[in-house]
Structure formats: C-alpha cells, structure tokens
C-alpha cells in the first residue's frame, strides 16, 4: 500500500463518453494508453502511480541503511537483491505513469520539491537488524494486501506492472519473516530486538492503508473506475487477520492490549493507530522526513554532472555517426 490518500479528480466531460468508458470498465476491459479516458481518471492515476513509484525509490533508504551492516554474506546478498527489486519496481511504475503523459523527470521534481508524496512508512527509522525483518514482514506484507487486488486494476500498464511487482513482493515478505523467525528463535538479545521492531512498526504499518475512507467521495469514484479495489478498512482488517497468527507463531506480542478475535465478524478487533501521528508524518513531521527527502535531493543534485556528462557524450556520438553517414 504505497499510495495513501490519493484524491480523485472530478471529471466534467461528455456524459455519453463517460458512460461508454464506465461500461468498458464494468465489463472488465483494460484501458490502454491510446484509449479515450476522462481527464480525472488520467490525473488520479498519475497521482497514484507516481506516489507508488516514489515510495519504491524512497523505500530504498531505510533498507539501504542496513546493507553495509548485514550480519552475514547471505543476508547482505538477499537485502541487496530486494532493494534492487524495489528500484526496478520504481522503473516499471514510472514507465506506467509515462504512458499517461508525464515524464519521469517531472515526477521526480515533484517528489524532490515536496509536491508529491511517498508512503508515510518510509519516514520511520530502521534502528536494528530486526527492522529489516519487520519491514519485509509488515511493510511488504501490507503492500501486498493492496497490490494483489490492483493486478486487476482497469488501467492496462498499471495492472501489468502490478503483476510483475507482486511476484517479487511475496519473496520480500518471506525473507522478512525469515529474519524475524531467526531472531525470535535466537538469543535473548535477538528476541528483544525482534519484539522491539514489532512494537515500533505495528502501528505505522496499520497507517499504511490510510484513514478510514468508507464515506469518501474520492474513494468511491476511484473504486468505480477500478483504480482502487477495496476500502482502506477492508485491507487493514485483512492485514491484521493475516499478521496476528504470524506474530503468535513467532512468539511475539502485537502491541495492542485490545486485540481480540471477534467470532461474529470472523476477524480481529484491534486498536486504530494514532491518526494525529499519521497526519504529522504526512505533513513532513515524521522522524525521518527531512533526512529522506534530503538524501533524495542530494543524490539528484550530486548526480547532475553524471547525467549531463552521459547525455553530452551520447549527443557527440550521434553527431559523429550522422557525419559518418
């Protein structure tokens, strides 16, 4: 769930065209880049796919934080592969967004100057090795909840990107859970680290789904367009129901004293996260917002001479080739 609180755009277009468009979506057809689409559909998708792409890119940072300190060569290799996958996801998603008429550079600029957001979760610090486990298990686990249904989203390029991404995400979640398992079965210090990671990442993971949107007009429009497949509450419930038994299996305690199985609804009752914290993080006041954005800006600014150099060289080659012809 790397797109949060994406507001859908109102659409004022020819009602006949809109109805025909909606009929295609209702029939389960995929909308392709050259097809007619309402302006609101296009803009909402750019926002949503862009936010997802940015989350993959910024999401490299909290895990990259531990690559140089991974405890074994195998863990280091797995973590490198995972972070590399995430950069790859960013590439497919920027590619999908480009089919809607916005360039990767434009989207990047909007990330760097704060006009576009990335998932709130990446504004939390990764403090111990167990956080690599918690991020894989909980954060990727939450992402999968949202991304699996999005494989059926109405926009063709987005749907195809999601299919590729989902294959890799399930491996990510498994490696995270495996780290947690090793630590939960390890020394007392390791177990303490694992519990501490769960304590710190539980509520921020629940926040990944965004506040309740069951009454939101924007969400209703996005769901009608099949850009959004489930409400935030449905996904959050599903995530909790899946994750609590996994925590029990690890012998770890979910930091929620109100957590109870509710036979009637066939799911857990659980405490809502502190939404004021969520809005603080969204506004830029999370523990790592400043560092994350500064790191991305620095990478971009420090890399300007590289991008310019490579472009200049490519142009010289092209000119030389033309002259030779």
């Amino acid at each position: 769930m790397y797109a949060q609180m994406v507001t859908s755009e109102a659409t004022q277009e020819d009602p006949q065209k809109l109805a025909a468009f909606q009929a295609r979506i209702d029939a389960g057809e995929k909308i392709e880049p050259k097809d007619w689409m309402p302006e609101g559909y296009r803009k909402t998708l750019i926002r949503q796919i862009g936010q997802h792409a940015h989350s993959e890119i910024v999401g490299q940072l909290p895990e990259g934080n531990w690559i140089t300190r991974a405890p074994t060569l195998e863990r280091k290799a797995i973590l490198l592969a995972k972070v590399q996958d995430e950069a790859g996801h960013g590439l497919y998603l920027y590619g999908a967004a480009e089919t809607l008429g916005v360039s990767r550079d434009e989207l990047t600029e909007m990330l760097l100057d704060g006009r576009m957001k990335y998932s709130s979760i990446f504004n939390y610090p990764t403090l111990t090795w167990a956080d690599m486990g918690a991020v894989g298990w909980l954060v990727d686990g939450a992402a999968i909840m949202n991304q699996v249904p999005l494989q059926r989203t109405s926009y063709g390029p987005y749907s195809r990107a999601m299919i590729r991404i989902c294959k890799e995400e399930s491996f990510h979640q498994r490696q995270g859970y495996h780290i947690m398992m090793k630590m939960a079965q390890g020394t007392p210090a390791q177990k303490k680290m694992a519990q501490d990671a769960l304590n710190r990442f539980w509520y921020p993971s629940l926040m990944m789904f965004g506040p309740s949107d069951k009454d939101s007009v924007h969400s209703a429009q996005s769901m009608k367009w099949k850009i959004k497949m489930n409400t935030n509450d449905e996904l959050r419930q599903k995530f909790v129901d899946q994750t609590v038994p996994q925590a029990e299996y690890l012998g770890l305690t979910v930091p929620d004293e109100t957590l109870r199985w509710n036979e009637e609804k066939g799911g857990y009752d659980f405490a809502e996260p502190d939404w004021s914290e969520f809005f603080d993080v969204i506004k830029g006041n999370g523990p790592c917002n400043t560092e994350r954005l500064a790191a991305r800006n620095k990478a971009w600014d420090d890399g300007a001479w590289v991008r310019e150099g490579l472009i200049a060289h490519a142009e010289k080659r092209r000119a030389a080739k033309l002259a030779a012809e």
Binding site: A81, V83, W300, G309, A312
Partner: protein, 253 residues
Amino acid sequence: MTDRDALFEYLLRLGDNTLVLGHRVSEWCGHAPVLEEDIALANTALDLIGQTQMWLGLAGDVEGEGRSADDFAMLRDVWDFRNLLLVEQPNGDFGQTMMRQCLFDAFHFDLLSGLAGSTDDRIAAIAAKALKEVTYHVDRSSETVIGLGDGTEESHRRMQAALDLLWPYVGEMFMPDAVDTALHEAGIAPDLPALRASFDTRIDEILRQATLVRPDNAYAHSGGKTGVRHSEHLGHLLTQMQWLQRAYPGAAW
C-alpha cells in the same frame, strides 16, 4: 610455505577483493545519480558478494579448520585481509567509483579468464561462473568511464582527477610475490606480469575514447594483498561490516 598455504592465501586474495569491492559498491544503494545506476550498482555488488561466498567458501575448505566464508568476512581484523589497496579506496563521487570499478574490472576479467583454465577444477568452475558476470561489469564500467570522460567539461575534469588519484593503485594488481609465483608454476593461476599487457591495451583504448590522459606516474602502492600495510580506510569499512557479528558473538542470523 606449503602448497596448501599458498593456495589458501591466494583464495583469500580473490575473495577479499570481491568482498571489499562489493561492500564499497553496496554503499551507493539508494544514492546513485539515476535509477538505472542504482540498479546496476546493486547488481554489481550482488555479483561480487556472490563471488565472495564461493571464493571464501573454498578458502575454508582448503584451510580445513572449519571456518566459513562468513567467519572470514566478519571475524578477521585488518592485517588478515588480503585485498588489493585499490578496492578498499573510498567511493568518492560517482566518477571515482566507476573509475575504480573500471580499473579493477579490466584486471579482474583477464585474471578470471586465466583462472577459468586452472588445473584446479574447483577454481576453474568458480572463475567460469564469475567471468560471465564480470564480462558485463567491464562493459558497463568502461562505457561509463568513456561516457563521462568524453561528456562535459566538468565530467571530463572529474574523471581525469579520479584516474590520477587511483592510478598509483594499479601496479599492485600485477606485482607478483611468492604466492602468485607458486600458484602460476603449479598451473593454478595465470602469470600476473603477463596480464599487464592485455590490461594496458584495454585501458589505453578506454582512455583514448574517454579523452583521458594516462598518468606518467609509474609509482605503485603495495601492501594490500600481502596484508602488510592496508590503508586506514579498511578498518572503518570492517567496523561497519562486522559490527553485528562482533556485538552479538555466536548469534545466528
């Protein structure tokens, strides 16, 4: 020095080169100038760490004292490392990282090509596998050095500065000692001085296309692959890499 000692020492050199360079390259994760480079750098680091597991794993078998690749990586101190000084040099800017990569890749490619014909089947098999990856590494790093050398005034200036800075670390790669000579005579490893000619031909062509000037300075720092005198940089790298294993001895991860 017995044959086994020489072989063990040689395998540590191979594994420590890929370990230390893989670690250095992995420091870039999430900070590269463009997304494709982030992916390529992570991919290179991943290849190098994979090669490390094979070389140091074999070193453990040859030593026969039950040490694993992880034990070698995480529990030795600076003086026991046998990597070249070149690979432990800090990343600097992206140009310096790619220049270091290109100089090492050009050497690594020829070295592995020789090792793929080793009389030791285990070494030949690892070298053949690694060579596939390093063929891509050398293509990519040389293309990047050419592109940036021949790019803008600024990129040219930075690449020349990187070359000047790193050139004194080239010589150590080709300087044979008793270990190299023993392995070459046994048909296990290629003759290092003989690799130099191929390296020079390749690098001269890259530098020509990159419009960079090969430094006059023939001085070569040494002490990395013998472990006699590493640079100050290696200790800091190990501090980070080994921290968890040192702080929580005996834990399984």
